[in-house]
Amino acid sequence: MGTESDIKLINEDGTRIDGRTAEELRPIKIETNVLNRADGSALIEWGGNKILAAVYGPREAYPKHTQDINRAIVKCKYNMAAFSVDERKRPGPDRRSIEISKVVSEALTAAIMVEKFPRAQVDVFIEVLQADAGTRIAGLTAASVAVAAAGIPMRDFVVGCTAGKVEGKIVLDLCKEEDNFGEADLPVAVMSNSGKVVLMQMDGSLSLDEFNQATEMIVRATKVINQIQRDALSAKYAASMEGGE
């Protein structure tokens, strides 16, 4: 947050650098079961993000000492493809990816009926193919669809959105420039029915009022995004990935 810049992020008419209004989402499209081998998968395109999520399991947790006799463990690996960002990323997990993998695993654990699968593990892989701000939330939103597509029982969909502060204004779904040069970033994911928060991180500077304003926007947005998740799942014969363009 907060690298300074001469870029003007909010236009005089109040629109944003990419022409959106404060509470306007970027285009979102989700396709399910785009992969053959995984038990469930989903490709999400969200603004310029292109992210694949794939699920294997439940299967016996391995190594054995990681097994929980009461529930399945959910292991998520978030990874950015080397070519997904402007400057080539060296393969392998960095500290940011490790943290994201952790909070995303925890968010999915809250939604999956892990108590039905003692000693098992559910593996969730999120691969960012093209990054454009908000990848953790987009990846988690896709992962939730992939879990459902794998037939793994969930209490609720997990669905998220980011809000932030840009030139003093609270806006929804930050784009890349807003993410780089804005004043606050607040990614949140909730369970679609209960509305409870399963992922939240925040950095920058927000007053309590601004926080409330941002979370209200997020709550409204998650309802829209959840519908896209549900539509993607009910589309019986999902188009192949090429159709996703």
């Binding site: 690298t3 490790i98 952790k102 925890e106 809250a110 509305g195 928060v197 399963v198 007053s207 409330n212």
Partner: protein
């Protein structure tokens, strides 16, 4: 086979141990009677001690004891090259080491997901509050800047490492001196602008309590950290460790965090 050392004491991996159902029940009954596991009031944090200057030869340091949790933060300040995209700023890095001496199942080795998460939450609080004025750390723009290394050794673990690490890091930074003299410059205090305080809560049944001890962490379902500054702003938040929170609970945590932050600032940073 009868072993001369107690069985069940084998070294487990990858886990902090599991709390008995009996102990969980006790903690919950206590909460319902308005008391915490260790007897304190519901919304109270544990007694803390802060000893700055413990590592006398480091530019800044602070030993913090929070209940039975103990961490030592040391600050090193060295000349180096700025990042290409921020040529007019110094550099800040934060690292947490979960020393194996701190807990029976902590292992030697590179940072794991826990220590990385803790370090990044502490780092965000310090970085996003602009506590350190990184622009004042430039010696030659684009070429030579001061790099501030915050390294935190976790020595004794009894819950709530994030808050203990944050308190130690902030205390160490506030007493740190840039060792300019060794470079033909001047020794000057590290330019510090504010005091970010992290307060962490866990949810146990319907209770949201700050500064959990280890047993409370084990009994809990969900963790949330809120870092605030004295100007009344949120600077970093992190929901962690499974579970789910309502927005009302989060607002409650924020509100308590502002209050406890104020209390801690008055107590330790007058």
């Amino acid at each position: 086979m009868r072993l001369p050392w107690k069985e069940g004491s084998k070294v487990p991996r990858d886990e902090l141990g599991v709390l008995s159902e009996i102990k969980k029940g006790y903690i919950l009954r206590q909460l319902k009677e308005g008391k915490r596991n260790d007897g304190r009031e519901l919304n109270a944090i544990r007694e803390a001690t802060v000893q700055t200057g413990f590592v006398t030869r480091a530019p800044g340091s602070a030993m913090v004891q929070l209940g039975k949790t103990r961490v030592l933060a040391g600050v090193k300040i060295e000349l180096g090259t700025p990042f290409a995209d921020t040529p007019n700023q110094g550099v800040l890095t934060t690292n947490v080491e979960l020393l194996p001496m701190a807990f029976p199942t902590f292992e030697s080795g590179p940072p794991n997901e826990n220590s990385i998460e803790y370090a990044r939450v502490v780092d965000r609080g310090i970085r996003e509050s602009k506590m350190i004025d990184l622009k004042k750390l430039v010696v030659t723009p684009g070429e030579k800047v001061w790099i501030v290394f915050i390294d935190i050794d976790v020595l004794d673990y009894d819950g709530n490492l994030i808050d203990a690490c944050n308190l130690a890091a902030v205390s160490a930074l506030k007493t740190a001196v840039i060792p300019g003299a060794a470079q033909g410059l001047e020794d000057i205090p590290l330019p510090v602008t504010c005091t970010p305080i992290a307060v962490t809560f866990v949810k146990i049944d319907e209770f949201l309590v700050p500064d959990p001890d280890l047993e409370e962490e084990q009994a809990s379902d969900g963790r949330i950290t809120v870092t605030t500054t004295e100007d009344g702003n949120l600077r970093a938040m992190q929901k962690g460790a499974g579970g789910a929170f309502t927005f009302d609970e989060i607002r409650e945590a924020i509100s308590m965090s502002f209050n406890l932050g104020k209390e801690l600032r008055e107590k330790y940073f007058r």
